[in-house]
């Protein structure tokens, strides 16, 4: 059942590509070059700031978790689960920023 779900998810991702390959040849919309420069700058800064914040957050989370595990190896199981959830949430915030920046660059 788990393998079936995994295959279905991957299949869904690849099926979605089929919708959009025609969009690749879409012409760039007529934005002013100054606006395009600002969009590129905003996208770059957006990803940079998000990556910086995400890296700081993840490093702090992992350092604290490893500190806890080193002090009390028996509690590793209890420490790792909240750490995984925290890492996933931090990572998803960085992914938001990446998505918005990519949308700014390629779809605006």
């Amino acid at each position: 059942m788990k393998k079936f779900l995994l295959v279905m998810m991957l299949l869904g991702i690849f099926v979605s590509f089929s919708f959009g390959f025609a969009m690749a040849a879409e012409e760039a919309k007529g934005l002013d070059s100054a606006v395009k420069q600002m969009v590129a700058l905003a996208a770059g800064f957006g990803v940079a700031i998000a990556a910086f914040g995400g890296a700081l957050g993840q490093s702090k989370a992992i350092a604290s978790a490893l500190d806890g595990i080193a002090r009390n190896p028996g509690a590793a199981g209890k420490i790792v689960t909240p750490m995984i959830i925290g890492l996933a949430m931090i990572e998803s915030l960085v992914i938001y920023s990446l998505v918005v920046s990519l949308l700014l660059i390629f779809k605006l």
Partner: protein
Amino acid sequence: MKETTASDIEHINVFILVLGSILSLVIMREFKYLFSFAVASSIMTLNFRFLKKIIEGGFLQSTVSKKNILIKLPLKFLILAGLLCVIIIYGDIDVIFFLIGLSTVFLSVVINQVIMFWGPAAKRRQKDGA
């Protein structure tokens, strides 16, 4: 009190993926919205699953697995970033539904906590004075 496990979050992720896909199809009546939500939600579900496997493999063994930490974790991130780039550049997606799909992990954590504190089991525990 019962502790949250990563598997609980994973189950809720899959539940949100299925329910959200059905709702987006029923409400919007167009496959573009369904695919936007389903793809983003699948990406986050798989990302969480692989993150869990890699970190549990890396930290919960008796020896720290360098292969997991040094190779699999960056590889997972690179694949995720590449997949997102390809989907956004070539895919015909709706931004709002895509971003809602990316929030699957947040939603599942919130739902998990709501179930823990206000679910039937928690009420039973409160009633019993535990």
